[in-house]
Symmetry: C2
Subunit: 209 residues, 2 copies
DNA sequence: GGCTTCGGACTGAACGTTCATTCCGAGACG
DNA sequence: CGTCTCGGAATGAACGTTCAGTCCGAAGCC
């Protein structure tokens, strides 16, 4: 079936094939972000994407798979944004700031992606995924997992407080996500200088004094 | 709601009336915490509470009202736990620590309440509620809202960084909630000394240096 | 080139299931 | 024996999923 690799994707030749798939994924992100997984019917996704209800099943076997594949795409975009021009050899402080600022900008500029990710990680899917990742990480040799590494490096060098790395990550990420959420909901307005100040504040939580 | 004070609640005379109501509320808290609002059918709530499906409607007009009244009860318990023996006249630092430690202990010891609150505040209900509260607070003269006051006091006294109070609150609450969640999910274990250290770390994020 | 045939992406009405809510007979209490 | 609460079957709406048919561009034929 996939033998033919001559010049086109598995569907038509017009090269426009994934147009509908993309529309479906986009609609899923937006609606799940706004309303949550269980509150967004497939019919609503189809309507927002401008396709027939049945067409979704041409691209995704069922709702659960649609959610998982959508997550994979959002997740990839997020990692890409975070790692883009990551100063791999800079100081811990600079790498931390890069992470924090990239992340907060990405969330603020892509509120639907942000909302989708929050919904996903709060769901049983996301929790199971984290459990798997944790297992995997315990068995395999250390991989790169940038933030996790950064924290461990900071602790080892005596820069950061001696706490379980996951606690550091929770404080940073918890604060970051909460602040981004307030901005998106319109309860505060965060510009770049303000985000820098917040990044510094969260750094103070990590650092020994 | 509390108008009729003659001698009995609106139901029977057996004085056992709120027994079932309580079971329903408890089941709602647990199931919503575990599964989310839209993924917990009324029939499941009835089964967990050990009552017939129809009996819920004897106490709550519909699902939405059930959720709201359940929230009101959980919310009251939470505030009560936070304000219990609150050292109203102690230093800002001491009051902060009281708040942080009470809150984290409460969340950890009442994971269902914690899960329910998170679900509620993430839902459109919770967001609408916050919007209302914010309006109300802007118009009315300052009320007590302990944490909000504490932050403003800290900023005014030069102890805390000059940031919108809501940002301070987000950093603290975001971190607190994230950390409690990791504990409940079993990814870290937090005892009292560790929580004290975390409270101190979050304080560092607030404080000027 | 015009006409016909063909294949498969696409649609939306239809299906079986599950949900929130209603209803009614059974029983408890006075 | 009337009143009132309860449980769970009944009801209608809404859901995820399917499928019989539509549509359209490409290929075959004259």
């Amino acid at each position: 079936m996939a033998a033919n690799a001559s010049m086109s994707e598995p569907f038509s030749m017009t090269q426009t094939e994934p147009e509908k798939r993309r529309a479906i994924v986009r609609a899923t992100i937006e609606l799940v972000a706004e309303r949550g997984f269980h509150a967004t019917p497939m019919s609503m996704i189809a309507a927002r994407a401008g396709v027939g209800a049945g067409s979704i099943y041409r691209y995704f076997a069922d709702k659960e798979i649609l959610i998982h594949e959508t997550f994979a795409e959002v997740s990839a975009r997020t990692h890409e944004a975070m790692l883009d021009s990551y100063p791999r050899d800079a100081s811990i402080r600079r790498r931390y700031e890069h992470f924090f600022l990239r992340m907060s900008h990405f969330f603020i500029e892509h509120p639907s992606d942000f909302g989708f990710l929050r919904q996903y990680f709060d769901s049983p899917f996301g929790i199971a995924l984290r459990r798997d990742k944790m297992m995997e990480q315990e068995c395999r040799g250390r991989d790169d997992e940038s933030l996790s590494c950064l924290i461990e490096e900071g602790i080892a060098s005596g820069l950061f407080k001696k706490l379980p790395p996951l606690v550091h990550i929770s404080i940073i990420f918890g604060g970051l996500v909460a602040v981004a959420r307030e901005h998106i909901l319109g309860f505060v307005t965060l510009d770049t200088p303000m985000l820098q100040i917040i990044a510094d504040a969260c750094w103070d939580a990590l650092a020994r004094h």
